[in-house]
Symmetry: C4
Subunit: 275 residues, 4 copies
Amino acid sequence: MPYPSEQSAPTGLRARLHTIIFESDTPAGRAFDVGLLWAIVLSVLAVMLESVEAIRLQYGEAIRVLEWCFTGLFALEYGLRLVSVQRPLRYALSFFGLVDLMAILPSLLSLMLPGMQSLLVVRVLRLLRVFRVLKLASFLGQADVLLTALRASRQKIIVFLGAVLSTVVIMGAVMYQVEGAPNGFDSIPRGMYWAVVTMTTVGYGDLAPKTVPGQFIASVLMIMGYGIIAVPTGIVSVELAQATRQAIDPRACPGCGLQGHDLDAVHCKHCGASL
Amino acid sequence: MPYPSEQSAPTGLRARLHTIIFESDTPAGRAFDVGLLWAIVLSVLAVMLESVEAIRLQYGEAIRVLEWCFTGLFALEYGLRLVSVQRPLRYALSFFGLVDLMAILPSLLSLMLPGMQSLLVVRVLRLLRVFRVLKLASFLGQADVLLTALRASRQKIIVFLGAVLSTVVIMGAVMYQVEGAPNGFDSIPRGMYWAVVTMTTVGYGDLAPKTVPGQFIASVLMIMGYGIIAVPTGIVSVELAQATRQAIDPRACPGCGLQGHDLDAVHCKHCGASL
Amino acid sequence: MPYPSEQSAPTGLRARLHTIIFESDTPAGRAFDVGLLWAIVLSVLAVMLESVEAIRLQYGEAIRVLEWCFTGLFALEYGLRLVSVQRPLRYALSFFGLVDLMAILPSLLSLMLPGMQSLLVVRVLRLLRVFRVLKLASFLGQADVLLTALRASRQKIIVFLGAVLSTVVIMGAVMYQVEGAPNGFDSIPRGMYWAVVTMTTVGYGDLAPKTVPGQFIASVLMIMGYGIIAVPTGIVSVELAQATRQAIDPRACPGCGLQGHDLDAVHCKHCGASL
Amino acid sequence: MPYPSEQSAPTGLRARLHTIIFESDTPAGRAFDVGLLWAIVLSVLAVMLESVEAIRLQYGEAIRVLEWCFTGLFALEYGLRLVSVQRPLRYALSFFGLVDLMAILPSLLSLMLPGMQSLLVVRVLRLLRVFRVLKLASFLGQADVLLTALRASRQKIIVFLGAVLSTVVIMGAVMYQVEGAPNGFDSIPRGMYWAVVTMTTVGYGDLAPKTVPGQFIASVLMIMGYGIIAVPTGIVSVELAQATRQAIDPRACPGCGLQGHDLDAVHCKHCGASL
C-alpha cells in the first residue's frame, strides 16, 4: 500500500510519521515494525503468565508494572496513528483501528471500574495486531494463495458444512433416544456435542456410548466421518492446486494483457496471441 | 425444474400454487421458500430445546404450543402440496413426500396414542426438508460437483471399506484374545468397536489396551490407520479434481483436440485456434 | 484366470469341477461363489456371536451345531479343490490354500485337543476367503488402481515411516524422563506407546502428560503430527492421480502399440506417431 | 559423495579407512554400514529394555555389559572416523560428528559422575545415526522429493502455523474465562494445551469442557479444526505433485516448448518432435 498521493500535501511531520508507522520499506519503518512485534508478543506472554496462579502470587507486582508500560506504549502508538492518518475517524472505526483500541481499553477500564477484572483476558486479542505487521511482510503472497483457495472453495465448503450439521443434529437426536440420560446423553444438544466430538475424530471420551446399539451406531458414524474428512481436504487440495498454478505463471499476454495463464499454455486463451 | 407443459392445462389456481410452492423463480415462490426455511429451522430448534430438562420444566407449555403451530403449518403446507401437484399419490410416495409427511405425523400420533412420547424425537428429521429448499438454490452446482466426485469414487471406496471392515473384524478378534474380558474386551464385537474407535483415530479411551502385547498391537494398528486415512482422501481429491475440471469446460479445441480449457477461454491455449 | 490349456487334457469331471470352483464366468461358477460368500460371512458372524457371553449361554448349543455344519462344508470344499486342481500340493501351499485350510483346522483341533479353546478365535481368518471370491469380481480394476498407487508410493512411505518411528522412539524417551513413572510413563516403550497414540491423533487419554513441561512437549508433538499427517495423504493422492490417469486412457499407439498415454497426449511419447 | 581429490594425497591406510567408513560403494564399506546399522538398532533396543523395571531387575547386569560393549565399539568407530578424515575438528563439530560423540558420552559420564544416571536416556539419540547410514542408500531420491515438497511449502506452512497458534492462544484465553479453574482450565497456558489437544483432534479427554457454553465453543473449534486440517494436506499434496513432476523430467520439447514429459518419453506428446 504505497502512500496515496493527494491534493493537499500532508505536513512533513505527519507524512514522516505515517511512513514510519504504517509502512515498512524504510529502515525506520522496519525498526518500528520489529519493535511493535516484540511489544505485542511480550505483552501477550505477560497476560498468559499472569493467569497462572503460582506466577501471579510471586511475580504479580512486576507483571502489573510491565502491563502498565505496555498499555502506555500502545496508547502512545494509538495516539500517533490517529495523528498521522488523514481521516482519523475512518481509521478508528476500521477493523485494525478497533483492534488497536482493544489493546489499551481493558487495562484502562479495569483501573476505573474495580469489578471488571474478567475483562483482562480480552487483552490476548492484542495478538491479532501481529497480523497488521505481517500484512506488510513477504508472507503476504503465500497467505494470498491460501485465502484465494479458501475463498474459491467457499460454496463447496458451505454445502459440506450443511451436510455435516444435519448429520450432527440427526445423530444427536438418535443417540439421545438410544442411550438416554443415564449414560450422559441427557438432551439433544448434548447428543449433538457428542456427535461433533466423534465426527471430527477428537473423541474426548467424556461422553461415550455404553449400550450395544449405541456402540454400533457410533461405529457407523465414525466410519462415515472417516470418509467425510476426505471431502474438505479434497476441496482445498484442488482449489489450492488451481490457485498455485495461477500464482506461479506471471506471464501477461502481449496481445491483450491477460494474466493467469496455465503453465503449459502457448497461446493466450483470450485472444490467441502467442505468449 | 420448469413447470412441465402437459396436454390438459391445469386450472389457474393449481398452477399458481404449484409455482409458489415448488418453484423459486417468482417473488412469491422465493418468499415461500424463505418462510419455509425459517419454519423448519425454528421447529427443529424447538425440538432440541424441549429435550433439555431445565428448559422443558420452565417453558414446556410454550414450546408445546409452538410445536402445534408448526405442526399445523406443515400440515397445511402438505395439503397444499397434495392439491397443487398433478399426481398426488406419486408425490406422497416420493422421498421428499415421505419426509414432508414425517414432519407432521409424530406430533399427531403422540396426541392419539399416549405411549408414543419416544416418537417425538423423529421430528428432527424435519431438518431434511431444508435440502428440498436448497435444491432450488444456487448451491446446486457445487453440491453436484461433490456428488459427482463421490459417485465416481464409489467403487474404490467400497473396495477400501471392505479392506477396513476385514481389518476391524480380525483386529477385534485378536484383541479379544490378547486383552480378554478383564480389560473390557469381553467379546469380538466389543473388540471390533474398539478397532473402529482406534482406526478412525477417534480414541475415546473407554476401551484401551492395558497389557504390553495389546499396546504393541494397538500401536501397529494406529500407524496402519494413519496411512489408511490417506487413501479415501486421495481418492476423493483425484475424483474432485476430475469433476472440477469437467465441470469447468467440456470443449475440445477444433484445431488440436486439447480439452480442459478454462471457462473463460476463447482461444485454445495450445494452438491459438478459436474455440 | 482362464483355465490353462495343458498337454494331458484333464478328465471331464475334474475340468467341470475346476470351472465351477475356481472360475466365475459360468452360471454354476457364479452360484458357487455366491453360496461360498454367504457361508463365509455367516460362519464369521457365528464366531463373533459365540464370543458374546450372553448369547453363548443361551444359544451356545445351536451355534456349535452350526459351526460343525460350516466346518463340514468348508472341509468338503477343500477336498474338492484339492481334487480339481492339477497340482494339489502347490495349491495346498499357496496363500489361499493355507487360508482355506485355516478355515477348517481350528474346529478340528479343538475337538481333538481339549485345551485348544483359544484357537477358536483363529476362525475369523475365514474372512480372508472373501477376497478369493472378490478376486474374480468387477472390483478387481478398482482394487488394482489402489494397489498400483500404494506400490508406487512404497519407497516414499518407508522413508516417511522411518521418520515417524524415530520421532516416536525419541519422544518416548523424552517423556519417560520428563513425566516419569508416577505419571504412568514407567518405561521408554510405554512412552513410545503414548507417542504413537498422540502422533496418530488417536488420543485415548489413558496416558496423558500431567506436568507443565510434559504438556508443552506434547503440544509441540501434536502440532508436528498434525503437519505430518499431511505427508502420506499427499503421497497417496499424487500416486493415485497418476494411476488413475494411466488407467483412464485406453489408447494404444498405432505405431508402436504403447499404452498408458496421458489424457492430453496427441502424439505417442515413444515413437512420435499421431494417436 | 565421491572421495574429494585433494592436493596432498592421503596416506594409503587413511584413504582406505575413509572409503570403508564414510562410503558404501565397496563391499567392505557396505559391510561396515550394515554392521553399524545393527549395532545402532541393538544398542537403542538395549536402552529401551533397560528402562523397563521388570527387565532391569532381572537382566540388568547383562544389559550393562552389553552397553559397555556398544560404547566401546562406538568409541572405536569415533576414533577411526577422527583419524580417517582430513580435518578432524571440522568433522567433530559437524552435525553428525556431534551425534557420533553423543553416542558415547552419556555412558562415559555416568561412570565418572555417579549422579548422572538421568543422562542415560540421551543414548536413544543414537538412533539419529541411522540416518547417516541411510543417507548413502537408494532411499535418498525419495527422501529428496519429500524434502523438496516440504521446503517449497515452508512459507505457506509458516503462515498456516501462525494462524493456528493465534487461534490456540485466543481459544485458550476464552475457555479459561468460560470454564474456569474448577473445571480444570486453571490458566491460559492450560487452556492453550486444551486447544492444541482439541484442534489437532487428539482429544485425550483429561481436560474437557463441562459447561454448556464451553461445549458449544468447543464444538465450533472442532469443526473449524476439521476444516483447517485440510489446509496442510492440500499444501503438501500440491507441492508434492509439483516436486514429483519436476523430479520426473525437466526436458522441454524443442518443437513446442511443452514440459512435464514422462521419464520414458522419446517424443513430445503434443507435437511429436524428438526430445
